[in-house]
């Protein structure tokens, strides 16, 4: 297709804008017709695909399914010899082309004058498709058969005729048949609307032109992406991330997701081999979800300067053997796979990308740490205050803090990467629909990771049953025993996820007396932190559940954060004064910083770091301390100056410019290490057995260079190993 005839630039612009507006109309139709609160909170998307099933136009809501939509179309094309006008395909099989069973996709071929021109695809998270738990997110399932209905690719509409038997089978398996049926209707309405508009567009410009505009957009993006990649150094980059899950004996099991990214010329290969095998419980993702997550990352990292479409995936390859936790196969349970190991894989891949991008002056601005930590499922069901059955997934869990960048703080409460254009509903909207009253929905101080730029703080929300006898909850996540949202270049991790419960007998009587609850932890007798996965938890009147989200990691050493920024954080309540002193070394009194005390405190923190430091494995020989970086040296994020030499790489601290040593292996060999627990980095950071935190510091100035979670079976690969010749090439 590379040599397709060029469209004139005016027609191109006109048709491109029409395609956008058609896609938006399709998207709007889904949200208007759907009766599902989950869809209204934008856990859905709509896209226009080429006739081969490549993403041509992409909506802005939940991103991962946009790529699985492309997989779904290609799956349909390969399985069906006859595809005709009026067909609509359905699929939710996670082993083939979906994140998890809830994500039902409808893909419709678009024909013009009898010829296949394009596809339209949409997905929306269905509120319930059966399985052991209301809401079909079955975190305690041990195989896929205990989970929601799995729908292989099939025609839900065949040549314009609805396959009523299939439709009825699906909704008969749902606890919320009306809502599911209505979502399906919304899908069909959206396809109809978008395809009518596409027909009009073809009437005016011809199907050839429309096809070529889509192809050309994809080629443009691909070309730009490839030339961007050519500006970056070739080499291997490594990042390891973890997923904590409850083991049988109430202990924590840790799955490792290991990503080795190889960048050569204009190609990127993400290799997840070496990751933990699939498990017979919560945490797995399928290949579809993992590749979809990598695609999401490409859109969010590189899509700021390049149009969103399949061109951003053409230079990318994802490698992983079957039966890993990121490529689970039958019969592994995968209903949590929308936000399980694939999100952790996305984080590991983001780590690799940051390590590469940060060698480049301009693209260092693109780097960020793990974007999204864990989906904190808060799913409730039973009978509502009107005596009717309900199942509600609280999208409040989306309101975590975003990652910090080299040039800005993370977004507070709403920094999600997987959904850029979405959010949750008003408290009042939730309370009129579900028999749960909020006690608070508020931002949590100190919850974003500290750094030169701070990770975004996130929210916590507490609910208690009202006008009902019982509420059944499914609460499941990871990131409880370790932070998934580590910082980069010395930034600290964001807070961990937590579900906490308490019980107050005669709660409403006490509230009526003005006895309000400020924190659940104050209710010491009944206060309890739940394990990461709880299924079928029954809440009765007086019970309270508080969901505390996992938040963004910082960027750079917090001691480098300008004092006035820290003061502002203290004044707005984003950081408390005790933690401002503890991690930022800033002493705030009477609304302003005490400059002298701050200077002393920052020095004291540096002193403590050096005192706690395990000295570097490799020391430079004493004669070399005065070595200065040469002209070919380049900086790496906030942390290092790196210079490639014949005998290895020379490393300097970027903060104090001191020569750290020469190594052929890992840069971490020449710096100091501090091993510690999570709560050194923030009040809500946990790093419990079998994991711990490692902070890498400059042995001279004590600057924080990197902070990571580590397990005993850390594979220990180097963060980067660049090809020397490539480096000099790029530098010239």
């Amino acid at each position: 297709m590379a040599n397709a005839r060029k469209i004139d630039p005016i027609t191109f612009e006109v048709v491109r804008h029409r395609l956008w507006s058609i896609n938006q109309e399709g998207s709007q139709t889904v949200i208007h017709v759907s009766g599902s609160p989950v869809v209204h909170a934008t856990d859905y998307n709509f896209g226009i695909y080429t006739r081969e099933g490549e993403m041509a136009v992409i909506g802005i809501y939940l991103l991962v399914p946009i790529y699985t939509g492309a997989m779904a179309i290609r799956e349909s094309i390969s399985r069906w010899s006859v595809i005709e006008p009026g067909d609509v395909f359905i699929i939710n099989d996670p082993y083939l082309a979906a994140e998890h069973q809830n994500d039902v996709q409808f893909c419709a071929p678009f024909f013009y004058k009898g010829e296949l021109v394009a596809w339209t695809g949409c997905m929306a998270h269905q509120v319930d498709l059966g399985g052991s738990d209301p809401g079909s997110w079955c975190p305690t399932a041990t195989d896929v058969y205990q989970e929601g209905l799995r729908i292989p690719p099939g025609k839900i509409v065949s040549a314009g005729k609805v396959n009523q038997e299939l439709w009825d089978i699906i909704i008969a398996n749902s606890r919320m048949p009306f809502t599911v049926s209505n979502d399906f209707t919304a899908f069909l309405a959206a396809h109809r609307v978008a395809q009518e508009r596409l027909t009009e567009l073809c009437d005016k410009y011809g199907a050839d032109t429309v096809t070529q505009v889509m192809q050309q957009s994809i080629e443009d993006s691909e070309r730009k992406f490839r030339s961007l990649l050519m500006e970056l150094p070739d080499g291997e980059f490594y990042h390891e991330s973890y997923l904590d899950r409850p083991a049988a004996d109430n202990s924590t099991e840790v799955l490792a997701i290991r990503c080795k990214m190889t960048k050569s010329q204009d190609r990127l290969v993400f290799d997840f081999n070496g990751s933990s095998p699939q498990v017979t419980g919560y945490g797995n993702a399928t290949r579809a979800g993992t590749v979809g997550a990598v695609a999401t990352l490409m859109l969010c990292v590189f899509g700021s300067s390049i149009s969103w479409n399949h061109g951003l995936m053409r230079p990318v390859e994802v490698i992983a053997d079957d039966r890993l936790c990121v490529t689970a196969t039958l019969p592994a349970p995968v209903s949590g796979g929308a936000a399980g190991a694939n999100w952790v894989a996305m984080n590991a891949a983001a780590g690799c990308l940051s390590k590469m991008l940060s060698f480049h002056e301009t693209y260092a601005q693109y780097a960020f740490g793990p974007g999204d930590g864990s989906w904190q499922l808060a799913q409730f069901g039973g009978l509502n205050q009107y005596g009717e059955p309900y199942a509600a997934m609280y999208l409040d869990s989306l309101l975590w803090g975003g990652p910090a960048f080299a040039f800005r703080d993370g977004v507070d409460s709403g920094g999600a990467m997987v959904i850029l254009g979405g959010g949750t509903q008003d408290v009042e909207q939730q309370e009129v629909m579900q028999p749960l009253m909020y006690l608070w929905r508020r931002e949590v101080p100190n919850s974003g990771g500290a750094g030169r730029h701070r990770g975004g703080n996130g929210i916590e929300f507490a609910l208690t049953p009202i006008d009902t006898d019982e509420v059944i909850g499914t609460l499941a996540t990871h990131g409880v025993a370790l932070p998934n949202r580590t910082g980069i270049f010395g930034g600290y991790p964001g807070s961990c996820a937590r579900y906490e419960v308490a019980r107050v007998p005669n709660l409403f009587e006490k509230l009526a007396q003005g006895k309000v609850i400020h924190r659940l932890a104050d209710l010491s007798e009944s206060y309890r932190v739940l394990p990461s996965v709880t299924s079928n938890y029954r809440f009765y009147p007086g019970d309270i559940v508080n969901t505390v989200l996992q938040n963004g990691g910082g960027y750079g050493d917090p001691l480098d954060r300008p004092v006035d920024r820290v003061v502002r954080d203290v004044l707005t309540g984003a950081v408390t004064s005790d933690w401002a002193a503890r991690v930022y070394g800033v002493i705030v009194a009477g609304g302003a910083a005490d400059a002298a005390a701050t200077e002393r405190q920052r020095q004291e923190i540096r002193r403590q770091r050096l005192a706690a430091m395990i000295p570097p494995k490799v020391r430079p020989n004493p004669g070399s301390v005065n070595i200065k970086p040469g002209p070919d040296a380049r900086s790496w994020g906030d942390s290092l100056i790196v210079e490639w030499k014949a005998n290895g790489i020379d490393l300097f601290c970027l903060h104090c410019k001191t020569f750290l040593g020469t190594t052929r292996a890992d840069w971490k060999d020449v710096v100091g290490i501090i091993r510690s627990a999570g709560n050194q980095f923030g009040p809500l950071v946990v790093a419990d057995n079998p994991v711990w935190m490692e902070q890498y510091i400059c042995p001279h100035c004590a600057a924080s260079l990197w902070v990571d979670v580590i397990t005993s079976d850390f594979a220990g690969l180097s963060d980067f190993s660049l090809q020397t010749s490539e480096v000099s090439q790029v530098l010239s």
Binding site: E13, G35, T185, S304, D426, I466, A512
Partner: protein
């Protein structure tokens, strides 16, 4: 005795005034806007009017029987962040409502910006955190008090806020529209502590479900109050001083007028004061000439504004965006895209794009010769022959075609390797299709086909582009009103007095049942409507209107249960009976399926009535537009012909002047009609006729 109806409209660049005399003759006046003292610009246009009437300013104003005014004061104050500092009081546990923003970091951004994750951040909240206080209290979804108000704490908190700099107060508590007892008590306490400080209650300004919008809106309203009051008092005072007798009336976002002295209490309700004028004018004119379904299009220098009139009614919306913030008060729906005469054309990655960047009024398009070097839509129009370089704005401004050609050659033609003419035509095609796409979006979103509508085209640049964006949409008729260049001001002159009151009171019917009226009590609905009507009646009676001279319209915002998006259904008969309630639901389902397609209605879920609204309006003043008695004999031959570049070649167009037009004039395209303040283009296979009011009506061959 002479008596005049006068209206003025303060825009970004010009202040327009319209004067309608007792014979129904419409006069239009323009003067530069005086940003530091907008009242001066208004007075200047009135001086021009007095001159025209051969009167002194005082004498003229003494003959004004009705004076209405549209203003951008509220919008400007918001954009320039010149509001009063607001202390916001919220329910304990929910003080972060406006900074959390329901998690929507994308709020107020377009798709392109949303796709840029790296730069995707929230705007700063309308009230900073140190000016927000939480107070202990809680009301539940049924309006029951769960936690009583801690009054001592309220006192402490308001003192703290004042010390922190609060100049006015906004109070927005959860479920206050179901039970406002705590909000009212807080106001009493504030008045005890600080008797002269303004307090805005969410239960009064916006008693609607949804605490985020409510808190933002009530805060914006409170912050605008003092500034708007000052502007209203200033203008009223000046006009009175110069001799004006009647009360100053102000255009509200809802398309109706209200007395200036009432406006500061609802300052956020005049944010769309200016832009809605054009829609109201089109509604008025449409009614006069028998056109019920209208797309109003206003193409100015930087933006293209679109409104919709269906069955004679201007379409409303619940939310207006200012910057990235949303004001949730009912307003006439005007949608905007950054496409105007000053929109800049650029080549990016080998493709041609137009806007949203604009050359604005200064330096303006390259052809203005004021130092602008980048090519704009106006430059393309000039190169293509649609504009006359010697007769722009009736010859008051000379355009320089060479500068236009140079700009297009440098920035578009050469990079793309095409001729200047082809490049200019490309610019025009793209901007026309951007405008057509917006019209398509706003009509289709309402479930209607744009080709069933008549386009009303106004604003400086609209009439020279309407012939092509209308054709692109398959629209068969375009009206260019006589008042095209001051259409907004004319709308402000023609508007009714209006009062709108609304309240949320969610009520549901159970799933699976179609006996809606069993769950949705008509007695309750009647009581809600009667309460609202009592308030609107009081407000209009205070203006001097009699209730019997006012029209009352009642609306219900409904949805299928578990849905978020609501549709508004008008109640045709009142009071309601159970049968009428069932009919309303049926009507809702019907409207719903018109908008979203047959079979899309989610009947099984049951329905929910959420918000009830009463709109009451009536005219305090009347005028009749002058009509030409009969068709003119002959309009005379074209003053010239001129080549126009279209579809890759030059075509001869007949050129007419505005003064040649009279009732019954008929012009065949390709033709250009040069009016003193705008240019009308009649395309090939199109024709234009002049009606009895002087409007030019384009017929498109479709």
């Amino acid at each position: 005795m002479n008596s005049f109806v006068v209206s003025s409209d303060i825009g970004g660049t010009f202040t327009d005034s319209v004067v309608i005399d007792q014979n129904g003759v419409v006069y239009r006046f323009k003067a530069p806007t005086v940003p530091d003292n907008p009242a001066d610009g208004v007075i200047e246009t009135l001086r021009l009017a007095a001159q025209q009437m051969q009167m002194g300013l005082r004498e003229f104003l003494e003959h004004v029987k009705f004076f209405s005014h549209g203003t951008t004061i509220a919008t400007n104050a918001m954009i320039e962040k010149r509001q009063a500092r607001v202390g916001l009081i919220q329910t304990r546990g929910f003080g972060d409502t406006i900074s959390i923003m329901r998690g929507f970091k994308s709020l107020g951004l377009d798709e392109e910006e949303i796709k840029n994750f790296r730069l995707l951040v929230k705007q700063s909240p309308v009230v900073p955190k140190n000016l927000i206080a939480e107070v202990t209290e809680r009301v539940d979804y049924k309006g029951r008090v769960v936690v009583p108000l801690d009054e001592d704490e309220v006192r402490l908190e308001i003192r703290r806020l004042v010390e922190a700099g609060a100049e006015v107060f906004a109070v927005s508590l959860l479920w206050s529209f179901k039970n406002s007892v705590h909000e009212r008590r807080i106001r009493e306490i504030i008045q005890e502590e600080y008797p002269s400080v303004d307090v805005t209650l969410s239960s009064e300004v916006l008693p609607r479900l949804g605490e985020f919008s409510r808190s933002v809106t009530v805060s914006i309203n409170a912050g605008l109050g003092p500034r708007v009051r000052q502007a209203m008092e200033n203008l009223s005072h000046k006009l009175k001083q110069e001799g004006l007798k009647p009360d100053l009336m102000i255009m509200q976002s809802n398309g109706g007028l209200e007395r200036a002295i009432e406006i500061p209490k609802r300052a956020a309700a005049i944010i769309m004061s200016g832009p809605v004028g054009g829609v109201v004018a089109s509604q008025y004119l449409g009614a006069k000439i028998g056109i019920q379904n209208i797309v109003t299009t206003d193409m100015g220098g930087t933006s293209f504004d679109v409104g919709i009139i269906m069955n004679g009614q201007a379409m409303m919306r619940n939310v207006t965006q200012v910057g990235r913030d949303e004001v949730a008060l009912p307003s006439i729906d005007v949608q905007t895209v950054g496409a105007g005469a000053g929109s800049i054309a650029a080549v990016r990655d080998g493709y041609l794009t137009v806007g949203p960047e604009s050359a604005g009024a200064d330096p303006g398009p390259a052809c203005y010769g004021r130092g602008g070097t980048r090519p704009t839509v106006a430059d393309a129009d000039l190169v293509l022959g649609y504009l006359n370089s010697d007769y722009f704005l009736g010859g008051r401004m000379r355009l320089n075609p060479e500068l236009a050609r140079k700009a297009i050659a440098t920035y578009v033609a050469e990079p793309l390797g095409m001729t200047v003419e082809d490049a200019a035509e490309g610019i025009k095609k793209i901007v026309d299709s951007l405008m057509a796409d917006l019209i398509r979006e706003v009509t289709i979103k309402r479930g209607v086909d744009p080709s069933d509508f008549t386009i009303f085209s106004f604003g400086g640049a609209g009439p020279s582009h309407a012939f092509s964006y209308a054709a692109e949409l398959g629209i068969s008729q375009v009206v260019v009103p006589l008042t095209a260049s001051v259409h907004s001001a004319f709308g402000i002159a023609s508007a009714d007095m209006m009062a709108v009151e609304e309240i949320s009171h969610p009520m549901q019917s159970p799933p699976g049942s179609t006996r809606y009226s069993e769950a949705l009590s008509c007695e309750l609905i009647n009581r809600i409507f009667s309460d609202l009507e009592k308030k609107t009646t009081e407000r209009l009676q205070a203006t001097g209107l009699r209730a019997e001279d006012c029209a009352v319209e009642r609306f219900i915002e409904m949805r299928f249960r578990f849905q978020i998006h609501e549709l508004t259904v008008q109640v045709s008969e009142f009071p309601l009976t159970p049968q009428l309630v069932d009919e309303i639901v049926e009507q809702f389902i019907e409207v719903y399926e018109i908008r979203f397609g047959k079979g899309s209605a989610f009947k099984a879920a049951g329905v929910e009535m959420v918000t009830f609204r009463v709109v009451m309006h009536g005219g305090l003043h009347e005028f009749r537009l002058k009509e030409e008695a009969s068709d003119a004999q002959e309009m005379g031959s074209p003053v010239a012909t001129r080549p126009v570049y279209h579809n890759g070649s030059w075509h001869e167009a007949s050129v007419y002047r505005g003064e040649q037009l009279h009732r019954g004039s008929h012009i065949e395209g390709l033709a250009i009609i040069e009016m003193p303040d705008t240019t009308i283009v009649v395309g090939e296979n199109q024709s234009a006729d002049v009606d009895r009011l002087g409007n030019v009506i384009l017929k498109l061959d479709v």
